[in-house]
């Protein structure tokens, strides 16, 4: 009895991710090269190509643990989370959570945060550049309206906080980095990951700055965000921080409507 195409594809999909299907094996022509061996070519390719896609996206994690360990961890993830669409740079959003719970990596407590950082870099890289807020845009807004202004980070930007020095770990993992050690007790990192014109990049934030940006992302006004930042860091100075972040193009341009009003 030939398999209906629907059943054949269901069996094939199950088989390539490791679930042996006798009905599929029986449907494949075997000769001196067996049906099982022929099907293994596809099984191997699915595993290898998805592992490679994850390795490309999570390059820091791969550099930290080495290829063999990474491949094995990736297979565990692939076994429970296949892509749901064909754009592979959008595959792996759940990988950091998987890494966090991956028993063999339990001795590397910073690994899951490095994975989150890799994912944020990946998302930023594939986001449009978008226009950024410039000092000239603000000059068109009446001074009394500034405190109530809401600002957004650029499309695809992520604020990441970690108790580990993710930026230094990332630096050390880059090819060509000079050998050295990163002291994990050296303090954490707050990073705003965002798209630059030809790459993804990150801004290292001081504690008050991170609280400020987090409040803005939550939709708070400039004034409310500054107040929140002052709680986190009593020395927070709005004008200094705002000028610095503006010069680093850390904010998206204001929406057209707001510009028109200004």
């Amino acid at each position: 009895m030939p398999l209906a195409l629907r059943d054949l594809q269901a069996a094939f999909a199950a088989h390539v991710v490791g679930g042996d299907r006798a009905d599929l094996v029986a449907a494949v022509v075997g000769d001196s090269m067996s049906a099982e061996a022929r099907l293994r070519v596809y099984r191997h390719h699915v595993a290898h190509s998805l592992g490679s896609a994850l390795a490309a996206t999570f390059a820091t994690v791969q550099a930290l643990v080495g290829d063999a360990f990474f491949r094995s961890m990736a297979q565990g993830f692939i076994g429970q989370t296949l892509p749901t669409q064909p754009v592979l740079d959008e595959y792996g959003a759940d990988f950091p959570a998987f890494v966090a719970g991956y028993e063999p990596a339990a001795s590397l407590p910073y690994l899951a945060d490095s994975a989150r950082f890799d994912w944020a870099l990946n998302v930023a890289f594939h986001s449009p550049v978008g226009r950024r807020l410039a000092a000239a845009d603000l000059a068109r807004i009446a001074a009394e309206r500034l405190p109530s202004l809401s600002l957004a980070v650029p499309e695809g930007a992520t604020l990441i906080g970690s108790r580990y020095p993710l930026d230094r770990i990332w630096n050390a993992s880059q090819s060509g980095a000079t050998a050295g050690t990163v002291d994990l007790d050296d303090g954490g990192a707050d990073l705003l990951v965002l798209r630059r014109s030809d790459d993804a990049a990150f801004i290292v934030l001081a504690e008050g700055e991170a609280a400020f940006v987090a409040a803005l992302i939550d939709g708070k006004s400039l004034e409310a965000a500054a107040e929140q930042a002052s709680h986190a860091d009593p020395s927070f100075d709005l004008s200094t921080v705002f000028a610095r972040l503006l010069s680093l193009e850390a904010f998206a341009a204001l929406q057209q409507r707001a510009e028109g009003e200004g």
């Binding site: 030939p2 390539v16 190509s49």
Partner: protein, 279 residues
């Protein structure tokens, strides 16, 4: 587009091509790598002002019994609308089942049922894009007991029912023929030649499978001698078409890729001269 040899545009070569603008017939991109807003996508849009483009999809899954993913189709459609490529193509294969994408060009049984599924999906694709799409013969590592048509027969029938074009991949013919114990020259003979819109050339690897050599379509080396010879046969039988050299793993320095394309270009010109002499 005048039949000429082009190259697959890959990330490691983007900056060099943008800067040096080497002469080549056209550039082909994988649709799925350029659907976001990455710097590569921006670079492609700039290069589009200089080069003809071909958009080659790998993830539409035209053989899926569940039909096409409309969201993905929409994104590919947006890219095609934006780039206005000379050619658009995908494969005779499937890669999606139950909402999961398996990232491989999985084989179909060549049956009437599969034919109806692919024709239905192709109709939807060509309708959505408002243009003809070409279908590439895949590299196969197995055949199905229930197949009632050969691969060339299946492709010919697909052309007849859907009006699609054919993207003839000579490397895939060599790989499939070796692995399924077929004669590549027989395979090549039985196609509707006027439907062929493009040729693909690439290298393959030879691996061990159950103690026997199996050819693997890895696009990781120069085009092999057997593939060049079959390309010569195709040029004599069906005439010149835009011809692409693909290289996707162990990607070499750009001049190596351009050298391979130059060899294809010389063969195209030779075929044209031979045809003119014969006429």
């Amino acid at each position: 587009m005048r039949p000429a040899a082009g190259i697959g545009l890959r990330a490691p070569h983007l900056a060099e091509i943008g800067r040096d603008r080497p002469a080549t017939g056209f550039l082909e991109i994988h649709a799925e790598n350029h659907l976001g807003g990455s710097p590569a996508r921006q670079a492609v849009e700039r290069l589009r002002e200089i080069y003809d483009f071909s958009v080659h999809a790998v993830g539409l899954s035209l053989g899926s019994v569940d039909g096409l993913d409309e969201a993905h189709l929409g994104r590919v459609g947006e890219l095609v609308k934006r780039l206005k490529p000379v050619l658009v193509s995908d494969h005779l294969s499937w890669s999606v089942h139950g909402g999961h994408y398996l990232n491989d060009l999985l084989p179909l049984p060549y049956t009437e049922e599969a034919l109806e599924v692919v024709v239905r999906n192709l109709d939807r694709l060509q309708e959505a894009l408002g243009r003809r799409v070409s279908i590439e013969n895949p590299s196969c590592y197995l055949g199905f007991v229930q197949s009632t048509l050969t691969e060339p027969e299946f492709l010919a029938e697909l052309v007849r029912r859907s009006g699609c074009g054919l993207l003839l991949d000579l490397n895939n013919i060599v790989v499939t023929a070796h692995n399924l114990r077929l004669d590549p020259r027989d395979w090549l003979k039985a196609l509707p030649g006027e439907a062929i819109t493009e040729y693909h050339l690439a290298g393959h690897a030879v691996n061990d499978c159950d103690g026997e050599p199996i050819l693997i379509d890895d696009h990781g080396s120069r085009v092999g001698d057997e593939v060049w010879a079959l390309f010569g046969d195709a040029l004599r039988r069906y005439g010149p078409r835009p011809t692409l050299v693909e290289w996707d793993t162990d990607i070499p320095a750009l001049p190596v890729l351009l050298e391979e394309a130059a060899r294809a270009e010389r063969m195209i010109q030779q075929a044209r001269a031979d045809a003119a002499r014969a006429a």
